[in-house]
């Protein structure tokens, strides 16, 4: 009986491409995740400064609330403490001299935030795998109940 199967180069090429596609998909979505899971996760505590907000926004913050980065939507820690003080804003007197002046009905807040999903590499502190803490940088944040712009103010080392 004559065998009618013959391997041609097009079949071979398609087969190689399909195997490559399956292997690539597997590596991308399964193997890399597995690798991430075994990454060491280091607790990091850091501070976020919020300035010149109203009492209503202060009242919407609670210890224990989860904190999220507005851009990525990622959970970047839990609020451990809230320290609110009367807001200081820049004002100029009649002599043209600037003063940091206490402002009625506005508050400055320092949040202490703690995360267990941090990693430290040299002098780089990263939270939730992609969120790098840069002291001095302004970011948009939210909790479930409030939203505001804040500034990374400090990292406990």
């Amino acid at each position: 009986m004559k065998k009618n199967f013959r391997l041609n180069w097009v079949d071979l090429l398609i087969l190689v491409l399909m195997v490559g596609l399956v292997a690539g998909t597997y590596m991308k979505f399964r193997v890399s995740k597995t690798t991430n899971v075994v990454e060491p996760q280091t607790p990091i505590t850091y501070q976020v400064q919020i300035t010149n907000i109203r009492k209503t926004t202060v009242d919407a913050l609670r210890e224990g609330d989860a904190l999220f980065d507005d851009d990525s939507g990622r959970n970047i820690g839990t609020i451990r403490s809230i320290e609110a003080t009367p807001a200081l804003t820049l004002a100029v007197d009649t002599e043209g001299v600037y003063h940091m002046t206490e402002t009625d009905d506005r508050y400055d807040v320092i949040l202490t935030v703690e995360t267990k999903e941090g990693s430290i590499s040299g002098n780089t502190y990263t939270v939730a795998r992609i969120y790098t803490l840069n002291i001095g940088s302004f970011r948009d944040f939210h909790t479930k109940y409030s939203t505001w712009q804040g500034r990374i103010w400090g990292i406990e080392r």
Binding site: N4, F5, L7, D11, I14, L15, M18, V19, L21, V22, T25, Y26, F29, I53, R54, T56, T57, D59, A60, A66, F68, G73, N75, T89, A91, V92, D93, T94, V97, Y98, H99, T101, E102, T103, D104, D105, R106, H142, T143, K144, Y145, S146, T147, W148
Partner: protein, 162 residues
Amino acid sequence: MKHERKSTWRPNLFDLVIVALGAAVMAVIVLVMRPAAANISETVPMEYTVELQNMPEGAWELVNTGDMLYDNIRNQAMGTVVAVDHAPYTRPIANASATHVYQSPVPNAENVILTLRTNMTVTDSSLVSEGGYIVRVGGAVAGKGPCYAGTGFVIGITREGE
């Protein structure tokens, strides 16, 4: 003599392998790309407060309980008005020696404070009104009612169970 045309295609081993691999690739893509299970815990009736700032004096009298407030940009239903209040519209100003900054009332203007009720979809990270409006204190509001509109902020949310 009549020639019968016979189909020349016959499945071979490679056709079957390719079909099987294609099905496997599709299955992997479907499994990997499927949306994560929605993290929606519940839908509950909730109240929250918005402040429309720098409105013409007396505008609050145009607001009626039962009015539906819509987001003026995305036309999302924000909720039904259940209470109306008003307060002076103020701007910060320093005294002459810049030792104190006061909130000084602006003439002929006031803030309209609306308490809204909506069925809220509650997740771990957000509260979303029936119309899709994300409610967070400090969030900007561009609201419109039947014969009024204004901009301001969300200033209060009653937390679930409180």
